[in-house]
Symmetry: C2
Subunit: 188 residues, 2 copies
């Protein structure tokens, strides 16, 4: 039931917005009582945090698997992370859009939990880029923080425009995007 | 007074959110009556569109000036556009955040007006990148649409993280970001 409540809420939050969705709306969609809701969540706001937390924890888990793969180069891992982000946005588009849009509705304590996880994702990517700068795969004349945010921005922004039914697959988009980020757009 | 209403609304929309801000809240902040509001705007939603429209029209105007400068190369123009976006986000951070966050509250007709202007900004950048591919400044083995969205994503995402009081200025951030996008992060 917890899963069903989260799935119904994600659909409603995306369609109507968080503020405009009542707990009653969620219950009406599922045909159950408010008691059921409060058995699983203290409030609508806690439900929003759970949705965010599950999304970002899924990304962190996948990022960890990529980072720990000793057989891959830093550049291959950068590709894997970009592809994973675009793929997640494709598969979990609703969560992604709610994540970026409704964050302001979290209370300070819940927001802190989310921001810590988001920061962790960014720090992990930055430490990978720093490793590449040390081992000679990546140029070392750029601030690692800006390199990290440029990669993340390009990939995350795809939630605004990537369409699964478009001309290019998520894999192809990731390939071209990482070609730009690693090799550059200049004619050599 | 129209300017004052827009400025007050931007502050309130950012702080409380669009849905949670009433016309009364805006009027209370300015110490005037609702009649004054309705003299300038048909509704809160029309006010939101006016805020968005003014923001995007400002960006389009600056983009046009950059694109029409015959003395600049395509690569220089790409830099100018990235710098302009990061700079606008710094100077008009509130408008930028409201723009990305509250778009869902626009009605279909108003949203169409905004989306058309956003699309125009993207098409203009894409036509610049295509020009660079034709004149030999940029490599021509990448889809121009993905190149455009990668540049826009990297620059637009800065609304999530750029801090005017941070270590790097908006100009320095733009320089490093464009170095990545044009030259790539790989060690040559």
């Amino acid at each position: 039931m917890k899963e069903k409540i989260m799935a119904a809420s994600i659909a409603l939050f995306e369609q109507k917005g968080f503020s405009e969705t009542s707990i009653q709306d969620i219950m009406d969609m599922l045909g159950v009582t408010k008691g059921t809701f409060y058995y699983y969540f203290k409030s609508k706001e806690e439900l929003l945090m759970d949705i965010h937390l599950r999304y970002i924890e899924g990304l962190l888990e996948k990022q960890k698997n990529i980072m720990e793969d000793a057989a891959k180069t830093v550049k291959e891992k950068v590709f894997e992370i970009v592809y994973m982000l675009i793929h997640s946005i494709e598969k979990q588009g609703r969560q992604a859009r709610i994540f970026f849009r409704e964050m302001k509705h979290l209370n300070a304590e819940h927001l802190k939990k989310i921001v810590e996880k988001r920061d962790l994702f960014r720090y992990n990517l930055q430490s990978l880029i720093e490793e590449g700068m040390r081992n000679g795969e990546l140029r070392d004349d750029l601030p690692p923080s800006i390199a990290t945010l440029t990669v993340l921005g390009a990939a995350n922004w795809s939630y605004q425009w990537f369409r699964p039914d478009g001309e290019l697959s998520d894999f192809e988009v990731a390939e071209h995007m990482v070609a730009i980020l690693l090799e550059g757009m200049e004619k050599k």
